[in-house]
Amino acid sequence: MSATGAPGVLAAAAMIARKDLAIEFRTRSAFLAALVFSLLAIVIFYFAWDATAVSAADLAPGVLWVIFTFSGLLGLHRSFGVEAADRAIDGLLASPVDREAVFLGKALANLVFVLGVQAIAIPAVALFYNLPLTHVVGPLLLIALLAAIGLVAVGTLFSAMAANTRLAELLLPVLSLPFFVPIVLPAAQSTARLLAGRPVAEAMSWLRILIAFDIVFVVACALAYPFTLED
């Protein structure tokens, strides 16, 4: 569908992602907020439980993925909020790129955002909860990536929708959180298996759910995105 001389879908998506990340890099407002929020939440969660009754290792997987979800929401909301000022979204849509490319570009920038927060939050959890992460780093990164893809696909679409409603930032968590159940549950369960020293194979059925979720919802959300624009 792209007009002559216009970039392909992936090139256009990369360009839009670079634009969003450049804005984020120069202001750093949302990233810092999400990061500080994550660190605060990690600390508060620790004090919310009796550390002598529940061991930190049992607590950590749940804490990690709940924080992951909420800090992700902070970044996702900004994704289309930044386009609302001066109706910048109209300029974006008037440019000769496919609407799917706009969605993929936004999602890509959000993915980098979420993974960036994770890159600091996971070591922070390991530090504060005294977790021996070194032997499970590989599988844990895979889980983080799979979870982030699903979260970002659904969250980017709902962020585009929520930005156009009266409730705006209030609506995003209400819409998204039920959809994050099949992300948080498998991620937390497989992380718990890994931290308990179980073999990766034992977490495979959980990982399969994550992979299937990613495939279905990346496709479905990219297809659904053009319907949220129009007229």
Partner: protein, 259 residues
């Protein structure tokens, strides 16, 4: 299905009497019949159906719980997803009205499921709530469709509202198998299906008769409520249109639908 029939009748009636829809005071006989059938079902279930041997009187809540669950979770939310998908394709605002009506009634039915379940669970399981696969799935679907209604309430423009809610309705249906899969990996405590299973239903004939009566009356009530809600949506929209055309002719106000 009954829905298509009533939809067609609805279309005919709105086309004929569009301006006078507002003052339309017709009695909703279908709704009255449904309420009577509902009361008859309760009377039969309480007074004329044998008491179950092991669970005692608590089992009787099953005649409310199971039909509400089937209609609320499968019929109502299935209709939301299907009419949402069709709306994105055909762009007929009646499809959006059907989806909205079905979602509202579906939330009511699912609420009934979530209320009657714990009332039964306390004496039989010994706990109000348990994180069993079916319970969790029902709860999260309830949240998804509450979100659906909140989303509808947060958008003024009817076209945007219809498109956004259609997208959410379709994605909600896609979500069901994933929530089901992930909560299923926790062991399930819920009684296995007694009626809908490959072998013959294992319920005594009298109880089975009550169950089917309950199912039929709940279905009738669902159709009647959706139809009533659908009509209401039509009236609200024609009111909005009237306001828009009046304000446009006066030219003093901006032509925005007033709610």
């Amino acid at each position: 299905m009954t829905m298509t029939a009533s939809t067609r009748a609805e279309r005919a009636s709105t086309e004929h009497a569009r301006p006078s829809t507002r003052s339309d005071g017709r009695t909703d006989w279908l709704l009255i019949a449904a309420v009577l059938a509902f009361i008859a079902t309760l009377v039969r279930a309480v007074a004329f159906t044998p008491i179950e041997a092991t669970q005692g009187a608590a089992q009787k809540i099953f005649y409310i719980h199971a039909p509400s669950a089937f209609i609320g979770l499968y019929v109502a939310f299935g209709l939301v997803a299907v009419s949402g998908l069709l709306y994105l394709w055909l762009r007929d605002e009646r499809l959006d009205r059907i989806a909205a009506s079905s979602a509202e009634v579906g939330v009511v039915y699912t609420t009934v499921v979530l209320v009657t379940g714990p009332i039964w669970g306390k004496p039989i399981w010994g706990t109000w709530w348990t994180w069993d696969a079916r319970l969790t799935l029902t709860l999260f679907l309830w949240f998804v469709y509450l979100g659906y209604l909140i989303l509808r309430g947060a958008i003024e423009d009817p076209g945007v509202r219809a498109r956004y809610s259609a997208v959410l309705g379709v994605l909600g249906a896609l979500l069901v198998p994933f929530i089901h899969l992930s909560v299923y990996l926790f062991r399930t405590l819920h009684p296995m299906p007694i009626i809908l299973k490959p072998s013959e239903p294992s319920l005594p004939p009298q109880m089975l008769a009550t169950f089917f009566m309950a199912f039929a009356s709940f279905m009738l009530l669902y159709v009647a409520l959706v139809r009533a809600r659908y009509r209401l949506a039509g009236i609200v929209e024609s009111l909005d249109d009237d306001v828009v055309s009046e304000t446009a002719s006066v030219g003093a106000l901006r032509a925005e639908p007033v709610r």
